[in-house]
């Protein structure tokens, strides 16, 4: 199999803002007095709550359950008493059912159920069951349940696993730090993934703006023939699955398909880390690496934060906000969601909290399109964003499919480069919702 170590022609290069946090090691966030754990933290349907108000729960205890095979449970990230099971504001901007836990001093831990439970199953099914039980989802941001991703359909012959350590979003440094500080856990997680899929060839893709991460991974995988570390030239949106498959292996994922359709499974490095924790230590997914950064934060940091901690609590550990204005973004600046409140909890999708000061966050007045073609030139999917956005805006939906609207992954490259500052992604989303 041929491995490509080349740059994608399209996409954009951004001054990435990672310099503030890339050399700050991951610190454990001080335990919060209260956590809010939404029942839906994955791509799919939420489960039913297993606890009631007033019940005492232990750290690691399962809080929800679902009959659906695709759903994953959520777990208590601290020990304490359930004070409410009610809708709470989440990073999605909606009120969604959540379990609120008030911390108590005496922490007790409840690990994952013992393996004896799975005695009758073959090894890879056991591992998949553990991952589901541990509530593991893709930690790259999409939160797709990991056990589903690791169950390719029969006709899909998977022959390569890619571990995605590109972290191409500006400002984010959690993956970078993780690869530097715990390469052994990342690699161990990767080996579990390869074992489940019975795949011999694994690649770890890292952008070349993370030389330390590349060095530590190389050191750790020295002598392992089946694991290749592939440095890639820094470019946004290189970490997008379809782009990465194309760059690394030269395979094109057909429109509407998944990388598994061309025999590749991609996981984020943090997912591998979480898989390692679940399988070797019995820890469900209750902690998350969160980068808190931006020019509105006095002391930016990389945290190992319990899921359910509020943005407010995490920001306070960075010295609060310099100014309670501007933008608070859950995730990176290119695809993250702006938040209207600091009450929202950190969930499995939250890779970062980015606080931009008012000056940087000011909305730009869009001008007329001058048809410069920059959006076309930079669209990593090879689409015509200018027409997609315009037709969406005027709601002329019948032409949108001809222009392959559904191929757009909303990476934001087009709106980033637009000299007229037109909100192209916003209009494209509008078009997607109208259809």
């Amino acid at each position: 199999m041929k491995v490509r170590d080349k740059n994608i022609l399209r996409g954009i290069h951004i001054n990435d803002g990672k310099e503030t946090t890339f050399n700050r090691s991951i610190v454990r966030a001080s335990p919060p007095s209260e956590v809010v754990i939404p029942l839906l933290q994955h791509h799919g349907k939420p489960g039913q709550p297993l606890v009631k108000k007033g019940e005492r729960v232990r750290k690691g205890q399962k809080l929800s359950e679902s009959k659906s095979p695709g759903a994953v449970p959520v777990h208590a990230s601290i020990s304490g008493t359930v004070t409410a099971v009610e809708p709470r504001l989440t990073i999605r901007g909606k009120r969604e059912m959540a379990v609120v836990i008030k911390s108590e001093k005496r922490a007790t831990f409840s690990p994952l159920p013992p393996l004896t439970r799975y005695r009758h199953l073959p090894e890879n099914k056991v591992l998949r069951a553990i991952l589901q039980e541990a509530g593991i989802v893709g930690l790259g941001g999409a939160a797709f349940p990991t056990h589903l991703k690791l169950s390719p359909r029969n006709k899909q012959h998977v022959d390569a696993v890619i571990l995605n350590g590109c972290e191409c979003e500006p400002y984010l440094t959690g993956d970078d730090r993780l690869m530097q500080e715990a390469p052994e856990k990342v690699v161990a997680g990767m080996e579990i993934i390869m074992k489940i899929l019975k795949v011999n060839q694994g690649y770890i893709a890292v952008e070349d703006n993370k030389p330390n991460a590349i060095a530590s991974l190389k050191k750790f995988t020295y002598g392992k023939e089946n694991l290749k570390i592939i440095p890639l030239k820094t470019r946004y949106p290189q970490g997008a699955e379809k782009i990465l498959v194309k760059i690394l292996l030269g395979r094109e994922v057909p429109g509407g398909g998944l990388p598994a359709d061309v025999g590749v499974i991609i996981h984020n490095v943090e997912t591998a880390w979480a898989i390692n924790n679940a399988v070797y230590k019995g820890i469900p997914l209750i902690e998350k690496i969160v980068t808190v950064t931006g020019n509105n934060v006095p002391k930016p940091a990389n945290f190992l934060a319990p899921i359910g901690i509020s943005f407010q609590a995490l920001l306070e550990q960075c010295g609060g906000l310099l100014d309670y204005k501007g933008k608070i973004i859950a995730g990176g600046p290119m695809m993250g969601r702006t938040q209207c409140s600091l009450e929202v909890p950190v969930t499995k999708e939250t890779k970062a909290i980015l606080a931009l000061p008012e000056k940087e966050a000011a909305l730009k007045e869009p001008g007329p399109c001058i048809r410069c073609g920059r959006c076309v030139e930079h669209c990593p999917m090879g689409l015509l964003p200018v027409f997609l956005a315009e037709l969406s805006r005027i709601q002329k939906c019948q032409d949108l499919e001809r222009l392959k609207l559904s191929y757009c992954m909303e990476c934001g490259s087009c709106a980033y480069v637009c000299p007229a500052k037109r909100p192209l992604v916003q209009w494209i989303r509008l078009g997607k919702n109208r259809r």
Partner: protein, 318 residues
């Protein structure tokens, strides 16, 4: 209590703005303007200033009159004015230049809805208007002040293309450096190439368009038995290829569109120059190809990543 700004991503925007692009094109035109002043004297500076002022005033009046947002400072009207001035003969009466500029902005641009909506290059609309309405003034070339070759009749000279019709060949060095009569900005090849390369390298214009024009026009003229180098260096071909045809608003959006657009202009230039009535054909070639742009954009949709039809196919390159 929420004072936070909420908006759709992305939350980062590049520093390049529309105004920035316009000013970069203006910077790229500075060598051509300087060459015009050097070769045709300060009267050419007056022509440039008049055209720019007329363009800015027209835009301002239009926007005030129609109660639109005032965007005179975005550089686009100034660019139209300078481009028009550079395509005019040096001795053109200033009132005609001003009229051309007014037409360029009012009819060529604002009548269609302003910046970004005009189907034709406004400067060329102004020039075509003057060329058709005032053919005598527009082809009245002054004697070049330097060592000129055989002026035809006393007061006026002729452009190298006019001379070629009468089988008088101009030297290459004179053609290249601009020691010939012609429109203000079209004679000095080094100045135009400098500006054009600057824009191509910085990515402010699509390089495929000038390459397509120069390549196809040169090749066809060569195959037709004429001297391609002479034709590429004479008339408004370089000015048109680098600054007029590449106007972002009136050129296609896709790679294949750029090639077809550029090659189409080259073919039309060859037809008009060698087989048509005009010695010069760049203006009309570009205006004609401007008309095809909506069609090119509609049909030439690039193949997106993953657009391959069969599932699981392993296509290597797009």
């Amino acid at each position: 209590m929420s004072l936070f700004i909420t908006s759709s991503p992305p939350h980062l925007r590049s520093r390049i703005t529309t105004t920035c692009i316009m000013y970069h094109v203006l910077i790229a035109l500075l060598p051509a303007v300087a060459a015009a002043i050097y070769f045709f004297g300060t009267s050419s500076l007056l022509l440039v200033v008049i055209c720019v002022l007329a363009a800015l005033t027209t835009e301002l009046f239009w926007q005030v009159f129609r109660q639109k947002k005032i965007t005179v400072h975005d550089g686009s009207a100034m660019l139209t004015g300078i481009l028009l001035a550079l395509s005019l003969p040096p001795d053109l009466p200033v009132e005609l230049a001003a009229l051309g500029s007014v037409i360029a902005i009012a009819v060529g641009k604002q009548a269609f809805g302003g910046l970004g909506h005009n189907p034709f290059n406004p400067a060329l609309v102004g020039r075509a208007f003057l060329l058709i309405s005032f053919p005598v003034e527009m082809t009245n070339w002054p004697l070049w002040k330097g060592p000129s070759q055989s002026p035809l009749n006393g007061a006026t000279s002729a452009t190298p293309l006019d001379l070629a019709e009468e089988n008088i060949i101009t030297e290459y060095s004179a053609l290249f450096w601009g020691n010939v009569s012609g429109s203000l900005g079209e004679t000095c090849a080094p100045a135009l190439l400098l500006g054009g390369f600057y824009l191509c390298c910085r990515g402010f214009i699509h390089w495929r368009i000038p390459v397509g024009i120069l390549g196809s026009a040169g090749l066809l003229i060569y195959l037709d038995g004429s001297d391609p180098l002479f034709h590429l260096l004479s008339g408004g071909l370089l000015l048109g290829a680098f600054f007029m045809a590449t106007d972002l608003i009136t050129s296609p959006l896709t790679c294949r569109g750029h090639w077809i657009f550029g090659i189409g202009i080259g073919v039309l230039i060859w037809l008009i120059r060698l087989h048509g009535g005009y010695p010069e054909g760049v203006t009309f070639a570009i205006l004609l190809m401007n008309m095809t742009v909506p069609l090119l954009d509609y049909y030439l949709i690039p193949q997106p990543l993953g657009g391959v039809s069969s599932r699981g196919s392993n296509k290597k390159n797009c």
